[in-house]
Symmetry: C2
Subunit: 386 residues, 2 copies
Amino acid sequence: MKQFLKIIILIAIINCQSSWCQETASVVEDFKPSEVNQPGKDFPQVNSQGRVRASVVAPNANRVRLDIGGVKYDMKKNDAGVWIGESAPQDEGFHYYQLEIDGASVPDPGSLYFYGAGRWGSGIEIPASDKDFYAVKDVPHGLVSENIYFSKITNAWRRCFVYTPAEYNIDAKKRFPVLYLQHGSFEDETGWSSQGKANFILDNLIADKKAVPMIIVMDNGYAYKNQGNTTESKPVSVFEEVMMNEIIPMIDSKFRTLSDREHRAIAGLSMGANQTMRIAMNHLDKFAYYGGFSGTSNYPSSDEIDPATFLDGKFNDGKVVNKQLKVLWLGLGTKEPKPFPGSVGAFRAMLDKQGIKHIFYESQATAHEWLTWRRSLYQYAGLLFK
Amino acid sequence: MKQFLKIIILIAIINCQSSWCQETASVVEDFKPSEVNQPGKDFPQVNSQGRVRASVVAPNANRVRLDIGGVKYDMKKNDAGVWIGESAPQDEGFHYYQLEIDGASVPDPGSLYFYGAGRWGSGIEIPASDKDFYAVKDVPHGLVSENIYFSKITNAWRRCFVYTPAEYNIDAKKRFPVLYLQHGSFEDETGWSSQGKANFILDNLIADKKAVPMIIVMDNGYAYKNQGNTTESKPVSVFEEVMMNEIIPMIDSKFRTLSDREHRAIAGLSMGANQTMRIAMNHLDKFAYYGGFSGTSNYPSSDEIDPATFLDGKFNDGKVVNKQLKVLWLGLGTKEPKPFPGSVGAFRAMLDKQGIKHIFYESQATAHEWLTWRRSLYQYAGLLFK
């Protein structure tokens, strides 16, 4: 009889691997407030299945939905006019989401807000099994500084956030290497030190002696000529020019940096991976390390790359690239959607064909989202300046 | 005939001084996007009358209202399902606001978000006639650094923001005086460097040589014993203990400060004025400057103060106070509601009776809001460390 029960349970488990079953399966009632809620707010909540439960007071609304992961989940109203409802299980890590109240897409009044998907809006954390590497721990903490500057190239005020390791404030003479770290499309300069947790990742890596103390500069990848002039019809990105002629010289003058190429790295995620690959390859005299998280410059194409023409032939001489780039690092989540696996795959095939050394990291069970990129930073930063 | 028309217009203008007339008078169609909108968002907007016009897509909603300044204004839906509506004229300066969609109070998806009124929510700027003093100008800009620390007293992670003047990063040996600057009730450590514009106010003051370059520390005024222990029934504030035993020693060790009393000032707004007055008077060996913006420690009472008992008699010997406090500064907006004028007035009467020197500043046409406090900081900071 026991054996029979085991078989029944086993069949049930096997059947429930499908997402249909996960979505309709019973909800485990162990919800806890999300760790990125506003102070004192009980909702949204997350349970051990990774479901998100939202709640909002909307006594006169007709329909309220929780909009997360590309799916809208209907919520139900109780007698007190409070709507409540939950999503299917979500991947571990950070997700953007919103509420829809009678057709209006608005931030959830319970969550903290993050810039992504082209707007300030709600975010939620599904606790990851490996969350320890970005946890706030009792280790020396660096500072994240907001740095305002005027860009002559774009004719506009711009902003970057600069992480300085704990040691920076202790030893007033020491100089540090610098990593320039870029966000993805529809995100901004706040992403890496907020939902990206770059500061905590580095604090922990440095405390564990797994990374060299370094400065991290997080700027905004959107930069256009004459941004003040709104009559401009077709904006052309000048981010590379801003990075090389304004950001790097400013950082080298305002902060105690080591300013030779051997002590300067660059990396980015998605759109930022594309941008920073071009910048690194166009200025190999300035950078010795490149990291591409969920992106490469052949995006969105999955076609075979011709190294003679791709990026003006910058990968054509594999020996030169191997000599110049001390680390060429690529990362991708195993659940990333098209076209990312295809385009990153085509890029890697080109590298192999050219005999170009590189590291490829796979983030298990994560998609085109921030847990992939937190893990990528953790892996990549540990290899720099050694 | 011309003279007759002039008289009619004059009568109309005189009659329109009443708020009733202002609210119902015709709306001037010169609305522009608010300067604290999210990137690329056209709404909310502000016109030359100080009216706020909000807009939100909510095709299936029954009633949408703009909730600002304690009044809810009905918005109207057009054929495209877009609600639009405007408020009565608002005071110059910064205001918190929200939208109400079928009874749900939510942030406006068009605005940037600020922490106030106990929640992250929408804010708007009504351009002030004197806004130049906090404008972003082509002057050297300091940094605002996010500083994470563990408090043993509260058993919790805490955060402060630290402004360092531009010179701090240029001269790696120089030490600077420090102003500890606190927010009001239902606000947090983000207030002063966001809606408070403390960094831009100081950048401009320092560039104009109207203020001494100084460090500003902006911490969170809410601090309770064993914050990790949620079973605690009656929380007692330990902010004074955290300030004296944790924040100040940390700042003096992490930053290049001048750490004697002559180079340490303290100030706060509303609840923060109350808190910092107690802290300053209990530790006159540690502070030489006090600023109270829209608040005093006798709040909310307007009764006559007995200096023998008030704050354990700390104001009883006027000569000692005059000798110890190089600046005792109070500010108040002329439109502040009860009980602020009464309690600040009672406090000033006590100072006069005790022969205690102080400066009293009135912010014209502002209420218990951030323009009062921006102006107060501008006035107060210019008097420090001289």
